[in-house]
């Protein structure tokens, strides 16, 4: 998928497949007889649009012989950073309910700031702690938003 041509063909194939999946799901939508517009009408129409547009994208990519248009994908180190950040975010979301919003936010901030910057750990911890405390008092205590607080009450 380095070139725009390949990217269009690949994303077109993915979209066409998604459209077909959506078509199957759309035709399974139940409905009541006598309606002017069945609940499945619009999803079916849109699924067809996505399927056909996906096919058109494959065709357009296939016709486009210009191999010089490339996609600016990250290098190996960039991919590693992305994957680590994604893993950190997923773990953060998994921990919000069991640990509480402020505690899990502190952990996410501390890890990600350290990982992206390699600042001294003391600075990282202080920065994350101050942010988490401010966020806790501003959003949970002052504005009263009902975030999960976890066993520590944070």
């Amino acid at each position: 998928m380095r070139t725009q041509r390949m990217a269009d063909m690949t994303s077109g194939a993915f979209l066409a497949a998604l459209g077909v999946l959506s078509l199957v799901a759309s035709y399974n939508i139940a409905g009541v007889t006598g309606e002017q517009l069945h609940p499945r009408t619009l999803p079916v129409f849109l699924s067809w649009v996505i399927t056909l547009a996906g096919v058109a994208l494959i065709f357009g990519g296939w016709r486009n012989q210009d191999e010089s248009q490339t996609i600016d994908w990250p290098d190996k180190a960039g991919f590693k950073r992305l994957l680590m950040a994604m893993a950190c975010m997923i773990l953060y979301l998994l921990l919000i309910e069991p640990l509480g919003f402020a505690t899990s936010s502190f952990l996410m901030l501390a890890f990600l700031i350290w990982y992206l910057s390699h600042y001294h750990p003391v600075i990282v911890v202080l920065l994350s702690l101050v942010t988490a405390v401010i966020i806790y008092f501003l959003f949970i205590q002052f504005l009263g938003l009902t975030f999960p607080v976890g066993p520590l009450g944070w």
């Binding site: 725009q4 990217a7 269009d8 994303s11 979209l15 959506s22 799901a25 759309s26 939508i29 139940a30 409905g31 009541v32 002017q36 517009l37 609940p39 499945r40 619009l42 999803p43 849109l46 699924s47 649009v49 996505i50 547009a53 996906g54 994208l57 357009g60 996609i71 600016d72 994908w73 990250p74 180190a77 960039g78 991919f79 950073r81 992305l82 950040a85 994604m86 975010m89 997923i90 953060y92 979301l93 919000i96 309910e97 936010s105 996410m108 901030l109 990600l112 700031i113 992206l116 910057s117 600042y119 942010t131 966020i135 501003l138 959003f139 504005l143 009263g144 938003l145 009902t146 975030f147």
Partner: protein, 502 residues
Amino acid sequence: MNFSWSYLLHGFAQAATPLNLAYALLGSLVGTLVGVLPGIGPTSAIAILLPLTTILPPIPAIIMMAAIYYGAMYGGSTTAIVVNIPGEASSVPTAMDGYQLARQGRGGPALGISAISSFVAGTLSLVGLTFFAPLLANVALAFGPPEYFALMFMALSLVVSLSGRALLKGLIATALGLLVSMMGLDPLTGEARLTFGTVSLMAGVNFISVIIGLFAIGEVLVNIERAVATIYENKVRDWLPTREDLKHSWGAMLRSSVIGFFLGLLPGCSPAVTTFIAYDAEKKVSKRPHLFGHGAIEGVAAAEGANNATCSGGFVPLFSFGIPSGPALAVLLGGFMMYGLQPGPMLFKENPDLVWAVIASMYLGNIILLVLNLPLVGLWARIALIPFPILGPMIILFSVIGAYSVRFLMFDVWVALIFGVLGYLMRKLGFPLAPMVLATVLTQMLETSLKQSMVLSDGSPLIFFTRPLAAVFMVLAFIMIAWGVWLQFSGRGKELAADDSD
């Protein structure tokens, strides 16, 4: 409702009392803060503060709540411009150009133009509200489901037609946005659709999560990949708009005021729709359309102007007929009712003091907000100086807060993350983000008005062409589509496409 200079002057006298002025100032401050903080919009802010205002007499209470509403509209642009977090759909067009300007070191002028345009459009539409409310409200009432459907269809056609080279990708993004928002229950029959048996999907996908994911998280991922040191590679150059910026923007401010105000009269027509329409209209008339999406200051002016003009326009149906044009005004209507006041034609007869004091306070509130916001431009733009390894994780944190606090569901946060990855991929693969956002926001209204129209016409789509207003919008929509296709295949289209992306 009859306009009378004596009522208006009396209103100003009331609004300018120290107590009422203090509450307008407090409301403006809280509103700006609410706008800047992701996760708490004007609707929830007014709802939270509503019970607290019961200790006040009705006039200062309503003045304060109205100030929170339009103050939030001013503040909402800040995070969109500075860190690319549009906290609501109406800030998306602002983010598209404002954030690019900020990356070019011109965050200050973008914020300044945003404040000035909000002031100009807010004030102009207040003049409209003051003098033409009854007449215009009657026009708004002529809008039935077919007209709404045609208007939404036109808005979507506009956005897709402006996808330039990526017309096909714009169409795909629109269809995906519509389809994603159809997950959940059918708005009229309650049938479960595209939920794949998942209970969480029954409640549908919230568009705020989609927006936060596509823009904020997607942008953070792009920056993480590149290991950027600061979120803007360029240093902050200017703090305030230059004469050149104002020259490029004044036309946009006036045009967006008109578009925003008139569309704001329509009950249910939210700033999300009007900002996109005003932004696209500006791109069409601009002498430098290639700059749109890459840092056109007039794009920021158009979006912010329309946003504020719509808010003021929305007070016309609220005051004249008791019809709120959006959730925030619906909560404000609740505030009126809490004081035993029923907005509608009788409100002007029975409570002229209150209505005119509130209208007059809005003029003063606009001035307060301009005075508050312009000096803060430098402060907000300085966020650019925070190193990205610190700012990036904080944007993630605020994105989580924003996505979670809409419905207090972790499901919405996961949706934001998924759309963050999708936003990253769409940027890489050249799919425009704006059509998807607008489609996601409009789906429910589009579908409901389509279904209601079909019921009205007994299933005949001709209803969209036999009613004059609907027909005008539909014809305009088809012209937009044809124009987009022409652009795609003509030489000019290729020229435009060279610079066109999200």
